[in-house]
């Protein structure tokens, strides 16, 4: 667990304790619910997974390279369980990164894409499927059936978690909304849209283990980056920057609390 903490051996034991301070996990009894299983049998999101798989191993970009040397935290090219342990701190970028930020780091460093171009095309539409969305779907799906296991050991991971919590409760903008306004109580709706209560561990776990997801209303597969952008739009704040620290911090806060719940992606949502 405390992989990156305290290079000094003398502190290792103490730090191990820190890494071990994880919330008592409320195990959900039926991790892959019957409903989700049925949906999974006819899950359009699988199209994105398949496409992402092809893209991952293809030589692409100005540097004509595949993504096989990309390290998502488990070592170069090691995808199994990588998504389950994201966001996490990466030494080479000296930053906490979620799956999508890490992917973009690799597409820039290994394949030579321009970050700005990727930001512009990362969210696809009906005319133009997005490579990033497909890749996220594929890489995340390599953690299917595994438990969310987001680390909290590097100082920046602690910082991101706490910042995420702070931002979750931060009310802002002309409608005074914070995430907590819409996602803090059971059984609430904005018009007819059901709002998950993300202060409830079970509901939160269901949310974080099911993104990226295929959205019927979008006819598209979407990632958490997209979801947060839309929630900020509803909150009437300006456009949330792609791969912002805000989104990584919120994802750290949410995913960490999801620890112990079984991943099943892509989810299928309205």
């Amino acid at each position: 667990m405390p992989r990156k903490v305290g290079g000094i051996a003398a502190f290792a034991l103490v730090c191990l304790v820190a890494g071990g301070v994880t919330p008592a996990l409320a195990q959900s009894g039926d991790p892959l619910g019957v409903g989700r299983k049925m949906l999974a049998e006819d899950n359009p999101g699988e199209l994105w997974v398949e496409r992402g798989k092809t893209l991952f191993y293809q030589k692409r970009g100005p540097k004509n390279a595949s993504l096989e040397r990309c390290d998502f935290g488990m070592g170069p090219g090691q995808l199994a369980g990588a998504y389950a342990a994201l966001p996490r701190y990466f030494q080479d970028t000296d930053a906490v990164q979620d799956l999508e930020s890490r992917l973009v780091t690799c597409m820039v460093a290994l394949q030579g894409y321009k970050r700005g171009d990727l930001a512009k095309t990362a969210m696809g539409n009906l005319d133009r499927m997005s490579d990033v969305e497909a890749l996220v779907a594929f890489i995340a799906s390599r953690s299917n059936g595994m438990k969310m296991n987001v680390p909290l050991s590097h100082q920046k991971e602690y910082d991101a978690y706490k910042a995420g919590e702070y931002i979750f409760y931060r009310r802002n903008g002309p409608t005074d909304f914070g995430c907590i306004t819409c996602h803090g109580e059971n059984g609430k709706r904005i018009r007819l849209q059901d709002l998950p209560n993300m202060t409830d561990r079970k509901q939160l776990q269901d949310v974080v283990t099911s993104w990226p997801a295929y959205l019927g209303t979008q006819s598209n597969l979407r990632t958490m980056q997209w979801r947060l952008k839309i929630c900020y739009w509803q909150m009437r704040l300006p456009d949330l920057a792609y791969l912002s620290d805000i989104s990584v911090a919120i994802t750290s806060y949410l995913n960490y609390q999801g620890n112990g719940a079984v991943i099943g992606v892509p989810g299928v949502k309205r």
């Binding site: 305290g6 730090c15 301070v21 602690y158 910082d159």
Partner: protein, 214 residues
């Protein structure tokens, strides 16, 4: 709740770990500093008018306690006081407008959203957002439930000057009555103009309004 306990537990442990040079949760002031920098950097390249939306006013700061921690008496009083001081009334002095205009506003959830750096166009001004959170006309089902049902609101309360004033003020800035309520301060934030609010007041109070019909 469990989360809070766990965090509290690890914060006390944190003191020991900091002394040992280990990673741990940042304290409140450091967290604020880190998170506020993220907020500041998270919406780059926007004109000042939009950037202003990211910054919090004093009341929003007070109303953002993590874990929904209780307000102190002083904080409640401050929020109420700021809310009171912010309330403006229509130039005409009329707090009850046209309920038919109010009906359209109450069911309109659009206006003032920003996409691609552009402000959403709103011909008749911003929607009032009420149906996002409230039952109004009891026959209308595409409504949310973040707030209490307002069906029969005027039928129950009448249309006295006092009722009109309270209703107007609660729409303008409900934090004058319920500090930090989940209902937006629609008038104080400039989302709605005083005249628009008067129309919505009419929609809630007028005996002819569907809100007050069964």
């Amino acid at each position: 709740m469990r989360k809070m306990i766990v965090l509290a537990g690890s914060t006390s442990l944190a003191a020991v770990l900091i002394a040992a040079g280990c990673a741990s949760f940042p304290d409140e002031a450091t967290t604020r500093q880190i998170a506020e920098k993220m907020m500041h950097d998270g919406f780059p390249g926007v004109p000042p008018a939009f950037a202003k939306r990211v910054a919090q006013d004093r009341s929003q700061q007070i109303c953002s306690k993590t874990g929904n921690a209780k307000l102190t008496q002083q904080e409640s009083a401050d929020v109420v006081k700021l809310a009171r001081a912010s309330i403006r009334y229509p130039a005409s002095g009329k707090l009850i407008g046209d309920w038919k205009v109010g009906a359209k506003l109450a069911y309109n959830g659009s206006g003032s959203r920003i996409r691609g750096g552009k402000l959403e166009k709103a011909k008749a001004g911003n929607g009032a957002l009420c149906s996002n959170c409230h039952v109004l006309n009891p026959k209308e089902f595409n409504v949310g439930n973040l707030g209490p049902s307002l069906a029969g609101y005027g039928a129950q309360r009448g249309q006295s000057e006092a009722v009109a004033r309270v209703t107007y003020e609660r729409i303008y800035n409900t934090w004058a009555y319920v500090p930090c309520a989940n209902m937006p301060r629609l008038g104080s934030s400039g989302h709605l103009a005083p005249e628009q609010i008067a129309h919505v007041v009419a929609y809630l109070l007028d005996p002819q309004s569907p809100v007050n019909k069964r």
